[in-house]
């Protein structure tokens, strides 16, 4: 299947993702910041009033800020009333789904230009309350009641993957080291420090020295969150927002000479409970969504120049690189260890630092992936630019895989 009308990105903006710099702002103010950057990024002729609708991905303002009805709130705050505003909640995939919904709204002929964004203000709650809130995206009756947390679900995937495919924690650590390095090249990232530099800094203040990253990552300074996942295997709690502006492809030319086209999209659902999946070491939703997106775009995994994948936990990046078809099943960990997914590897993954280092304000993540695609494919990604990137893929997962979206972008 193809879209009835082609869709392009003409602008993109995002705040830095962080746990402190947005402390004095609410989600509406954070979202406005990303929106203004997106509007200013459009090359020519664009005015705020050109936006015909807002599709907003956000997970749980209800719990984080006691605020529901977030899309209307954002439309009000941006001053785009009476344009329609639609909230989409699919856990961590909320704004990945919102991108597809916005694209479909344009393809339908109803709108020519829409704004799609995501926002989350998480740090208003303490870590335990955030853990409880995130767990709402799992099956409350059959997973959370058993004691599962979100890190716990992915940690279980890891123990199953280790047993079935012989992967090891060292390979998870390789993902963390890579993504922290990439984050150090990205001014929008939550963490902009390599693991080695963190080790030096934390070691100095405690009178400890570490011979390399691995020695630090094995130390008590990197405590276990949910075995085998340690702190540096988990994405941080961050505040932030990201916004992209989508336009019908022919109209897009009015606003820029270098639009980025949405070439393919796919989405799939899977069981809410991890326990109900036949294969615990793979996300079926990723495989199906990817097949749809590859088919629509007319490309194969080998054609992808760079990918941003949903590495909420390091094991999730290994699963993604296998399930997206970049590496054979069971070899994602080896590929990470060998540097194949590094910024200078043959299949760069998460050059922006991924969720691991860039941060993961849940509802903003899918839109931030689209932002990265826009910058990379226009050659505007700065220090973490992948040279000559022509085709990019983004992969956004809700919870432990019950929702997955994949989008493929090209010039």
């Amino acid at each position: 299947m193809n879209l009835s009308r082609d869709v392009a990105l003409i602008g993109a903006g995002m705040t830095r993702f962080h746990n402190k710099i947005h402390a004095d702002k609410t989600s509406r103010e954070i979202f406005l910041e990303a929106t203004l950057e997106a509007i200013n990024s459009v090359d020519k002729n664009f005015e705020f009033k050109d936006i015909e609708a807002l599709f907003l991905g956000t997970f749980s303002g209800d719990s984080f800020e006691n605020q529901a009805h977030m899309a209307a709130l954002m439309a009000d705050w941006l001053g785009i009333n009476p344009k329609p505003a639609i909230r989409i909640e699919d856990a961590c995939a909320s704004s990945g789904v919102a991108i597809s919904m916005g694209a479909m709204a344009i393809a339908s002929g109803l709108y020519d230009i829409v704004m799609v964004g995501g926002v989350e203000k998480m740090t208003s709650l303490d870590t335990n309350k955030v853990t409880d809130t995130l767990a709402m995206a799992a099956d409350n009756l059959f997973e959370v009641s058993a004691g599962f947390t979100f890190p716990g679900l992915y940690a279980s995937i890891a123990t199953a993957h280790f047993a079935k495919h012989g992967s090891r924690w060292d390979q998870l650590a390789a993902v963390s080291i890579k993504n922290h390095y990439n984050g150090s090249l990205n001014p929008k990232a939550h963490f902009q420090t390599s693991v080695l530099d963190v080790a030096k800094k934390m070691g100095e203040s405690r009178g400890l020295t570490f011979k390399d990253e691995m020695e630090f990552l094995r130390s008590p300074l990197n405590p276990v969150v949910a075995y085998p996942l340690r702190l540096f295997d988990c994405c941080p709690i961050s505040d932030g927002a990201a916004v992209v502006i989508l336009a019908e492809a022919k109209k897009a030319k009015r606003f820029t000479d270098t639009p980025i086209f949405l070439k393919g999209l796919g989405q799939a659902s899977d069981t809410m409970c991890l326990s109900n999946r036949e294969d615990l070491t793979s996300l079926k939703g990723t495989k199906i969504a990817a097949q749809q997106a590859y088919k629509m775009a007319g490309v194969k995994p080998k054609d992808i120049d760079l990918a941003v994948v949903h590495d909420c936990f390091t094991i999730a990046e290994i699963l993604a690189t296998e399930d997206l078809g970049f590496f054979p099943k069971g070899e994602g960990g080896v590929a990470a260890e060998e540097g194949r997914t590094a910024i200078n590897g043959d299949k760069p993954v998460n050059p922006d630092g991924g969720l691991k280092a860039k941060g993961h304000p849940v509802g903003a993540t899918g839109a931030a992936m689209a932002y990265e695609m826009f910058k990379q494919l226009r050659g505007e990604a700065g220090k973490h630019q992948i040279a000559d990137a022509e085709i990019g893929l983004s992969h956004n997962v809700g919870a432990s895989g019950a929702t997955v979206t994949v989008q493929i972008y090209g010039k």
Binding site: N128, A135, G147, G152, I157, A158, A226, S275
Partner: protein, 131 residues
């Protein structure tokens, strides 16, 4: 053993059976699949002819983790181990593994026996490693 559908395939029935000491799954006679929690429509073949099937309560660990940053309500038990259990008759469910709080050994494929635990109004399935 297949029991005729004396109760509807509801979560209420599942809990009622648990309080009677029975772990009851739904069984699809056409595709031979056992499903937990029990449900009226087989998610495998969309069949609507599910039967109740009582499980003996033994199985193996397919995946697990020991949680050190717990849910607020589990704070006093931390660290604790939870896993995905596959029953011998088929059907999987998540549960607390009560005798493996902190462990150095790999728990995958170890045999477990179900324990039905009542905590006030709540009734839940936990598991004990027996191998």
């Amino acid at each position: 053993m297949i029991i005729m559908s004396v109760k509807p395939f509801s979560l209420k029935s599942f809990r009622e059976y648990l309080s009677e000491g029975k772990i009851m799954a739904s069984y699809c006679p056409s595709c031979k699949k056992v499903h937990l929690p029990p449900r009226p429509i087989c998610p495998n073949c969309m069949g609507k002819t599910n039967k109740w099937r009582e499980l003996k309560g033994e199985g193996i660990i397919k995946a697990y983790t020991t949680i050190h940053v717990p849910l607020t309500k589990m704070m006093s038990q931390s660290p604790y181990t939870v896993g995905v259990i596959e029953f011998d008759e088929g059907g999987r469910i998540s549960g607390l593994i009560t005798n493996a709080r902190e462990t150095d050994r790999d728990l995958i494929d170890l045999r477990v026996k179900a324990q039905i635990v009542k905590e006030g109004e709540e009734i839940k399935l936990c598991f004990k490693i027996i191998s």
